[in-house]
């Protein structure tokens, strides 16, 4: 179309002197009208400029022309940049800058501007300059060289070109308005897309419960929405910052702590002095740092570098990315909370399981014995504890009772208690020599523990035939043997606590037993139970209660002690496992 039109124009005429024939003027007018029609339907700056160039070259027989306009907006046109085309004339940016400052109207001869500029124009081959402008706005200039026959332009020719330029100015204004409309339309669409992304991510983040997934989703949104190819994410949240996503080589070794207190986005330049790391990051390609804000604190950073289009990030995009980062911060925080509560829940389940196992290790139902009545009582402080007691029927006439207290609490104590029980039961099944058994137990416990773990242990075997109680005490609170005649014997024979030294020798005690005698065994949870004033229950108080109640049945004796402890302790929390075993010999 362009081409046809040029031919039509160039074929129109030789130039005419003033007062040229009416026919020529008519042809000129027709070509101007045609030009106006074509240019006004075009939205392309280059097409418009090219058209007036070719039209005047053909009509005036000049070979050198050039045109320049300032492009308005529009990514495709190159925002704020100059569009220039030329045939045989090329002008430097300096010359164009000067010309824009002059703000010409109409047209002037190239020699009519001030000296230095006139010379530069003449050097470039420019003979005349035409402003491309509407009444209120200068878009650019059209330059024309000498005619092929070597002369300047005649007045009618100047008028012709001026008219062409006016038509072009109107067309460019039209295109510029259209471009602005197109720009704001696509800006609007981009904003809508941003909002959709925020909406979508807030929905998606609410479903996510792990940090890597949340980070990956954030990455996709950043890449998809901005086209960023270089970026990194660093999470701090009050701790040492850790880079969790890194697509910017060289930042891993930098100290990002100074940025972790940022509360708004920061554009970096390599001449920045504050914070210290900013200039270094800028040199590595980071353009913007955007903080993750969570409950008024900065919990992470998005470091944003170049994107595929290489265009700078707009303020509105930074606002969008800030919102996105804040959403991500919330999702990551939720993921951490979820993980913590899951871990806690799992631990509780394991504790409950361990508690159930431990309860099964301790004897629950007492076997029936000839010549004795046994009761036990046990309250652990935590779900699992380190107290151990056992009642074993060796045969119809032989009963074994034991009590022990493992140092420490919780899982380690419970494990050691289980270890002690299995060893003790196995040894009891094999032989009856209590001193030998205790020596072996000591070696086993020593071998299985560190120096800071130990066990106080007491075991006794009672024969209803011989009516004797054989016992060994390895550092345990002395049990009471309440004689039916009112005497009290403390059972203290034995040796060292289990687990302190590799080899230890133990002696056994031997007490004759009469009908009505009571054996009372306890752990320090009884004697050292604390009240609110941090006072201990004490063995003296315990002895008093035992004296008063020794004629009762074992279960009733234990109940009496328990009631006294409850009264004594009041509202104070239980500080240690409480275990009691009581045997009445009949």
């Amino acid at each position: 179309m362009n081409q046809n039109h040029d031919n039509a124009l160039s074929g129109t005429s030789p130039q005419g002197p003033p007062g040229q024939p009416v026919n020529d003027q008519l042809i000129e007018l027709t070509s101007l009208i045609e030009t106006a029609k074509i240019l006004n339907t075009s939205l392309d700056y280059r097409f418009i400029l090219n058209h007036i160039m070719l039209a005047s070259m053909g009509k005036l027989a000049v070979s050198r022309t050039a045109a320049v306009v300032r492009a308005e907006g529009g990514a495709q046109q190159g925002e704020g940049s100059r569009i220039r085309i030329g045939k045989g004339i090329s002008l430097s940016d300096d010359v164009l800058d000067e010309l824009y400052q002059i703000d010409l109207e109409g047209s002037v001869d190239a020699s009519g501007v001030h000296n230095s500029l006139a010379k530069k124009l003449a050097d470039s081959g420019v003979n005349r300059i035409f402003a491309i402008r509407t009444s209120h706005r200068l878009f650019g200039y059209f330059f024309i060289g000498r005619k092929l026959i070597g002369t300047g332009l005649a007045p009618t020719e100047i008028e012709f070109v001026s008219t062409l330029c006016n038509i072009a100015a109107a067309a460019i204004e039209n295109a510029s308005v259209f471009q602005q409309y197109k720009d704001s339309n696509s800006e609007l669409q981009r904003r809508v897309q941003e909002l959709q992304t925020l909406f979508e991510l807030s929905k998606e983040f609410s479903l996510l419960v792990d940090e890597p997934r949340a980070l990956r989703t954030l990455e996709f949104a950043i890449m998809g929405q901005t086209g960023a190819r270089k970026y990194a994410v660093c999470l701090s949240n009050g701790k040492e910052p850790r880079v969790v996503v890194n697509r910017i080589p060289g930042i891993e070794s930098l100290d990002l702590r100074p940025l972790c207190s940022l509360d708004q986005a920061l554009r970096l330049t390599d001449s920045m002095t504050e914070p210290a790391v900013a200039a270094e990051l800028a040199r590595k390609g980071v353009e913007i740092v955007i903080p993750f804000q969570l409950k008024g604190r900065t919990s992470g950073l998005l470091l944003l570098g170049e994107r595929l289009s290489k265009s700078p990030y707009l303020d509105s995009e930074i606002n969008f990315l800030s919102s996105l980062c804040n959403l991500a911060a919330m999702a990551i925080d939720n993921a951490h909370l979820f993980k913590e509560s899951l871990a806690k829940q799992r631990l509780e389940e394991e504790l409950n399981l361990a508690h159930a196992i431990q309860e099964k290790l301790l004897p629950r139902e007492m076997p029936s014995f000839v010549g004795s009545d046994v009761a036990t009582f046990h309250i652990p402080t935590k779900q699992v504890g380190g107290d151990y007691f056992d009642v074993i029927k060796l045969n119809e006439n032989l009963i074994c009772v034991a009590i022990a207290d493992v140092s420490g609490k919780g899982f380690p104590a419970a494990l050691l208690m289980a270890n002690l029980q299995s060893a003790f039961r196995a040894l009891m099944a094999a032989e009856l020599d209590l001193a030998g058994i205790t020596e072996r137990l000591n070696s086993i416990i020593f071998g299985n523990t560190d120096f800071d773990k130990f066990i106080t242990f007491f075991a006794a075997v009672y024969s209803s035939v011989s009516k004797h109680l054989i016992y060994v005490n390895a550092g345990h609170n002395y049990p009471f043997l309440m004689k039916s005649d009112g005497r009290i014997v403390r059972l203290d024979k034995g040796g060292l606590i289990l687990g302190i030294v590799q080899r230890a020798a133990y002696e056994t005690g031997d007490e004759p037993v009469d009908n009505g005698d009571v054996l009372y065994m306890f752990t320090d949870g009884v004697s050292e139970a604390l009240n609110l004033s941090e006072e201990q229950f004490t063995e003296e108080r315990l002895e008093g209660i035992l004296r008063l109640n020794s004629t009762l049945r074992p279960a009733a004796i234990l109940e009496a002690v328990r009631n006294e402890i409850v009264n004594f302790v009041g509202d104070a929390p239980q500080s240690d496992d409480i275990t009691q075993v009581c045997v009445k010999f009949l």
Binding site: Q193, E200, L201, F220, G227, L308, S309
Partner: protein
């Protein structure tokens, strides 16, 4: 919940990925997985057939960004084809036509790979 499905098939020296349904933040991991598998197998000539894809969000676009550098670094490319207009509009809005070759028809894209 809107479904998303991705199937792959070999075609000459390239692999065609057929996308179906809705590609958004929720379904992006499925596409990510497929890309990772192809790249893991050393397949870098990839044509994505959008014919049956009804919706794409920014996060969905992000997946293509995530792999383009690695694919091109291995002398391959991700070429896009058969987009519905509304899907193309999203690509266009975010400037992707400058970054990716987008074809009306997957055969054109395949021809490009095969002529290499």
């Amino acid at each position: 919940m809107n479904e998303f499905k991705v199937l792959t098939r070999d075609s000459g020296n390239a692999v065609v990925m057929d996308l179906h349904g809705f590609l958004d933040a929720h379904t992006a991991p499925d596409l990510e997985k497929t890309f990772a598998e192809l790249i893991g197998k050393g397949k870098f000539n990839i044509v994505v057939n959008f014919d049956a894809l009804n919706y794409i969000s920014s996060a969905g676009l992000g997946v293509f960004m995530a792999y383009i550098d690695e694919v091109r670094g291995n002398h391959g490319d991700i070429k896009l084809a058969n987009m519905q207009q509304k899907v193309f509009n999203v690509f266009d809005l975010l400037g992707f036509p400058f970054l990716y070759e987008i074809y009306k028809d997957q055969d054109e894209a395949l021809k490009k790979f095969n002529s290499q």
